[in-house]
């Protein structure tokens, strides 16, 4: 029996390894694909877009009917996101609100995968012959940066579109230090550029790492709680201490699930709000 139990390190590593086409040894390698992340994020994207599209079509076809059930929920969400956007951004860009809704729902669904029992889907995958499966896309740096870099591209795009290339470069080089003499301004501009670039680049990096860090840590807690009944010293349900461990695992996992419910919502909300703020700032003239 003891031989069938995985080693602690092995078990943790198993839960940290993606299902890839080939093992990745270097930090960056653009020939490797995380099949699990792509599969689950596309699945969740289809789930979100499909269900919202069905509601939207029904709502548009019968605008006289009283909204019920899931339609009320979707409309409440749309109304809430709309008010969040209107609080921050007062322009006419028609992309920001749907973008915010997409981010909130998609990130929330990413994170929600964390609430599924930690060995459920990897166990099923193991049964059909897949060695590894990571079910939470937001614990993949690629997914987190995929979101934040897209937002970053939109930030740059709208900055240049609204202020012009010169306006955008001016924003990067003419503040915070300003001088009347042009020969003093040139070295100051270099300093400004360094400072502003750090500020600018810190935005997508912090956006991605905040989401990734929270979810990675959350998932790790679930893995460690699962280890309570997987370690060699676990006595099984034949003994009192075995029952104690099982009970402790159940109680702690439940407590962390409840707390995690809050975390995943907050992380999705933070990602959405910061995206709105960054894009609103891209539209403002300084």
């Amino acid at each position: 029996m003891a031989a069938k139990q995985p080693q602690i390190g092995e078990y943790i590593l198993h839960h940290l390894t993606f299902l890839t086409n080939k093992p990745q040894t270097s930090l960056v390698n653009f020939t490797v694909i995380d099949y699990d992340t792509v599969f689950f994020s596309v699945l969740l994207a289809v789930l979100f877009a499909g269900s919202f599209y069905l509601v939207a079509r029904k709502s548009a076809a019968a605008s006289n009917s009283v909204p019920r059930g899931f339609q009320s929920f979707v409309e409440m969400l749309v109304d809430w996101v709309d008010s969040q956007v209107k609080d921050v951004y007062h322009g006419t860009n028609r992309l920001i609100a749907p973008l915010a809704l997409t981010i909130f729902c998609w990130v929330y669904l990413f994170n929600f995968m964390d609430l599924l029992p930690v060995d459920l889907l990897p166990g099923v995958a193991g049964a059909v012959g897949l060695a590894h499966l990571k079910v939470v896309p937001s614990t993949d740096l690629n997914a987190a940066f995929g979101l934040s870099l897209t937002v970053f591209i939109l930030m740059i795009y709208y900055s240049i579109k609204v202020k012009g290339l010169l306006g955008f470069l001016g924003e990067l080089t003419l503040q915070p230090f300003r001088a009347k003499n042009i020969f003093v301004q040139i070295p100051l501009s270099i300093v400004n550029f360094v400072l502003e670039s750090v500020t600018l680049i810190a935005r997508p990096v912090s956006l991605a790492l905040r989401l990734f860090g929270n979810l990675f840590a959350g998932e790790m807690i679930f893995v460690l709680l699962a280890l309570l009944t997987l370690v060699h010293s676990y006595a099984g349900l034949e003994s009192v201490s075995g029952w104690g461990m099982a009970l402790m695992q159940a109680v702690l996992t439940f407590a962390w699930e409840v707390f995690h419910l809050l975390i995943i919502t907050i992380q999705a909300f933070i990602f959405m709000v910061l995206t709105i703020v960054y894009l609103a700032m891209a539209h403002e003239h300084h």
Binding site: Q24, N29, V32, S59, D82, F145, G146, T150
Partner: protein, 156 residues
């Protein structure tokens, strides 16, 4: 922790998802919601207006009713007054007529009595003459003593 092709795929999927939401989900949800909001606001405004109108109509009806009641009161008053007047008039007319009839009857009685007195007087005169003639056993010349007889009759 590594960066690979998944990043590019995720960005592409995200871009498509944003496009889809922007094109097919957001406007088709917010449009009907705003339309419904507008309709609810209209409905509420109409309900408020209707209530106000109902209140005004009720007030109007009440004032009309009050006026009608007042007018009815006035009419009843007038009717009573005119009925009294007519009654009074009829009573006075009847009294006058009665008095007139009594007066006429009394006059008639007076006249009849005078006439009867006159006749009686004349008859008494002739009876007296006849009696005197019988007494004297001779006929008194009526014409000769007419003046005397008339004077005698007037004294009766």
């Amino acid at each position: 922790m590594h960066i690979n092709l998944t990043l590019v795929i995720q960005m592409a999927v995200f871009a498509v998802l944003i496009w889809f939401t922007m094109k097919f989900v957001w406007p088709m949800l917010l449009g009907p919601m705003q339309e419904r909001e507008r309709r609810i606001a209209q409905g509420l405004a109409a309900a408020g207006k209707g209530e106000e109108e109902l209140k005004q109509a009720r007030e109007g009806a009440e004032s009309i009713l009050r006026e009608a009641r007042e007018r009815a009161g006035v009419i009843v008053d007038q009717a009573q007054r005119s009925a009294n007047e007519i009654l009074e008039q009829a009573r006075s007319t009847a009294t006058q007529e009665g008095q007139r009839l009594v007066a006429a009857a009394q006059q008639q009685i007076g006249l009849d009595a005078a006439r009867a007195k006159e006749q009686l007087r004349q008859q008494v005169g002739s009876i007296a003459v006849a009696a005197a003639a019988k007494l004297l056993e001779r006929e008194i010349d009526a014409r000769a003593h007419e003046a005397l007889l008339n004077e005698f009759a007037a004294q009766l």
